[in-house]
Amino acid sequence: MLGLKKKDLTLLGVVAALVIFAPFILNPFPADSAMAQFNAGYPDLMQRFVIFGIFAIGFNILFGLTGYLSFGHAAFLGVGSYSAVWMFKLLSMNVIPAIILAVIISGLFAMLIGFISLRRSGIYFSILTLAFAQMSFNLAYSVLTPITNGETGLQLTLEDPRVLGETATSSGGIPVTNFFGLEMRATETLNLGGWSFQFNAGYYLCALIMMIAFYISIRIFRSPFGLMLRAVKSNQTRLNYTGLNTRPYTLAAFVISGMYAGLAGGLMASMDPLAGAERMQWTASGEVVLMTILGGAGTLIGPVLGAGFIKYFENIFSKINENVLHQWFHALPDGIETPLVWVAEHFVGSGWHLTLGLLFMLVVTFLPGGLVEGGQRIGRLVRRRGESKKATQSTPAE
């Protein structure tokens, strides 16, 4: 079905089920329990999960398949965001034109940067992309302030023209982003016992787009084009000696990957109409590399998992403060509680980077294939145990 083999179809099905039921899966704890701190099922974070999932899927098409490590992918994300916000300012608050423009502009931008950067490979390519991204960041930060509004970030105002929409709502506010009238921030809350599950229109739009993006990524992975990209990764020199020009293939992969990043940027702006220069900073580019490696480079589902993992830490762990820690440990005697809280507080709150760094180190050292490898190992373990159990069970004679 859909031109996919059974295995890929199952994977697509699993991902679809995960994103559809995410509001339930991510909210395992009742809202007023102490563990509610770890709930991630609120619209903003769920949107981030799928948007950065798209970003990482796109990055993986370049890095996972061709092995070209781009250190400047955040630039395309930023360009996508700026294009989308300008579309909201000038045309209308409908997200579709914004997303389309974001993809087109970032694709063109990727074409330009890719054309120059892909003349080199390996570390030189990485440095070139890093340089371009940093240039874009500085342009957005100060030089192009009239277009980007500098450090404050590009925002909607009550004076925007919006040719196909209204400048301000009848009640004097800035209109909100919508999908043909369906407001992106519209949220339906379902209270079941102590749990409260939030279903957000914007999230489901992002989820739908991510499913499409994921499907396209599977098709690319399984296509002859994908095979050619893998060949580039395994030995580009040999390909060149056989008389093949690999540049068009790598450039195509770079542009596709840039368009994915632009799509993610456009979606980010659609969910929250603001575009800031820091989205293009090199740390943001590094983050997507981390996501991909953490989840498993070159695998289909890995980058999505990695994106979710990092965003979870960024948003959940950073909000645990000293006060919360004291609540957790208050049953312990003071002599133990105080040092325990002192140690723990360095790993939460603003110290979430530290926790993430430790986990990243552990994953890279013990699971070089990322979280996907971890999953596979567990899967094998379970299967082997199942098999050994089967083997010991003697089949009774008929």
């Binding site: 609120y42 619209p43 404050t152 009550l158 209270n191 603001l274």
Partner: protein, 461 residues
């Protein structure tokens, strides 16, 4: 086919399906009148401060002040400025009888991260008010978010003219003073100290606050006869300013104005002193450095280098009015050192919000906003139709007007100087002059603040 699809089976599935569809409507509670209407016995406030980045010190101090404010609102501790506040609506039993709880987040001094953090407070934790920020860029971004989401934003330390100027919002309120007021208060003192024929060179943090600070102090000093040699923008994330300092030596400027704050100022001032700028004689005059926005935390960071350097500040712990004394006492008792101006403004903002809710009798943002800046009181000695809002006293700045026209507070401004002989590590600044509010007053349509529109209040939901 017929084997699977029986009449009975169809009815069964129909009933179950119908019940399933009905479940959400049964369980979704009554629609709220406004975003995050507090249910039960508690109300959640969101404290969104920088815990990393160039303003992390300020952020940490803000958080301490918020925790103190929550204690006092809940009737714990010694009550602090609740006892000196001119409005007596708060009773020390929470807000409207609801116990105050809070959540915290890290803005990272980045608009994106700040918005994400504020969103999670609103969507996940049910915060009914967001406050904080130590960067105007972040404050402007979060203020916009709160306007959209329908919650109140009580700005913390944000000094840019834009926060209550071109980016002002109906749901946003600022107690802190701004760049224009700094310029208006500082310029006469500078002219008196350094004369009226000076040549100034500006280094400016490259974001909304830096731009408006530069514009304000430039206009104010030029009006007194100073000349501006050059203005150079430096990135907010910069930590080494050597490359910006050396070009100054090539010019004939005799005053360096550092439109920097927090870690930026500490580094740029240290660099400037290392390059010997303060010992230089130019045009037969002593070279001087000015820091328009000063804080004790920065003075401590820069150490020896701040001696004799002029700047302005919103509040200083050495003030001797009842409110300041009460606040310094309870802050000092709890943490062991005096509060910074960032801590002061955040504490005051939390109290003002709680007081407004209490007086309004509702958490509805529109009602709260009405109470915060409503009323017909005005400051004496200013003849202007905009001189109208909510007048209060006893929170450390003397008489303060929350102006209805742009949700900006008007109060006296302190001009301070780095102390030559500090007696302790906290006693680093001395107040040179308390500039009266009349001198820093401006009309809402001042060109430096024009272009914005409050819009109408948004209660969300």
């Amino acid at each position: 086919m017929s084997k699977h699809l029986t009449r009975r089976g169809l009815i069964k599935t129909g009933v179950i399906g119908g019940a399933g569809l009905a479940v959400p409507t049964i369980f979704t509670g009554a629609a709220n009148a406004f975003t995050n209407e507090p249910a039960g016995g508690t109300v959640t406030l969101g404290f969104n401060v920088p815990q990393s980045g160039p303003y992390a010190d300020e952020g940490a101090d803000e958080l301490r002040a918020y925790q103190l404010a929550v204690e006092h609102l809940n009737g714990e501790g010694d009550g602090g400025m609740l006892n000196t506040f001119s409005s007596k609506a708060l009773e020390g039993n929470g807000i409207l009888g609801k116990k105050v709880e809070y959540v915290t987040g890290d803005t990272q001094t980045k608009s994106d991260a700040a918005r994400a953090s504020a969103k999670s407070m609103i969507e996940k934790d049910g915060a009914v008010m967001i406050t904080g920020g130590s960067s105007s860029g972040v404050a402007v971004a979060v203020q916009g978010l709160c306007q959209e989401a329908g919650v109140i934003f009580m700005a913390g330390l944000t000094h840019s003219n834009d926060t209550t100027g071109k980016d002002k919002k109906a749901n946003g309120f600022r107690h802190f003073f701004n760049a224009y007021m700094s310029g208006a208060a500082l310029a006469p003192v500078l002219a008196a100290q350094y004369g009226t024929d000076r040549k100034a060179y500006h280094l400016t943090a490259d974001y909304t606050w830096g731009w408006t600070q530069e514009e304000s102090i430039k206009a104010a000093t030029e009006a007194l006869g100073w000349e501006t040699v050059n203005t150079v923008r430096t990135p907010l994330a910069a930590t080494d300013f050597s490359s910006y300092i050396t070009p100054i030596l090539q010019t004939d400027a005799d005053v360096l104005i550092l439109n920097h704050y927090g870690g930026n100022m500490v580094n740029s001032l240290t660099n400037a002193v290392q390059f010997g700028l303060r010992d230089k004689m130019v045009n037969g005059k002593q070279f001087e450095i000015v820091v328009p926005l000063y804080s004790r935390l920065m003075a401590r960071g820069a150490g020896e280098n701040v001696k004799g350097i002029f700047g302005s500040t919103n509040w200083h712990w050495s003030l001797q009015d009842e409110g300041s004394k009460a606040f310094v006492k309870s802050f000092g008792t709890k943490y062991g050192f005096p509060p910074s101006q960032a801590a002061h403004t955040c504490y005051v903002q939390t109290l003002l919000y709680a007081d407004a809710v209490q007086r309004a009798g509702s958490f509805n943002p529109c009602a709260v906003g009405e109470a915060l800046v409503g009323g017909d009181s005005s400051i004496e000695g200013i003849d202007s139709p905009a001189n109208k809002g909510y007048l209060f006293d006893g929170l450390g700045n003397g008489q303060v007007l929350y102006r209805a026209a742009d949700h900006q507070c008007f109060k006296d401004v302190l001009v301070v100087k780095g102390k030559d002989n500090p007696t302790s590590e906290f006693d680093l600044l001395e107040v040179v002059e308390q500039t009266p509010v009349q001198q820093v007053w401006y009309e809402p349509d001042n060109p430096m603040f024009a272009g914005g529109n409050l819009g109408s209040c948004n209660a969300g939901a």
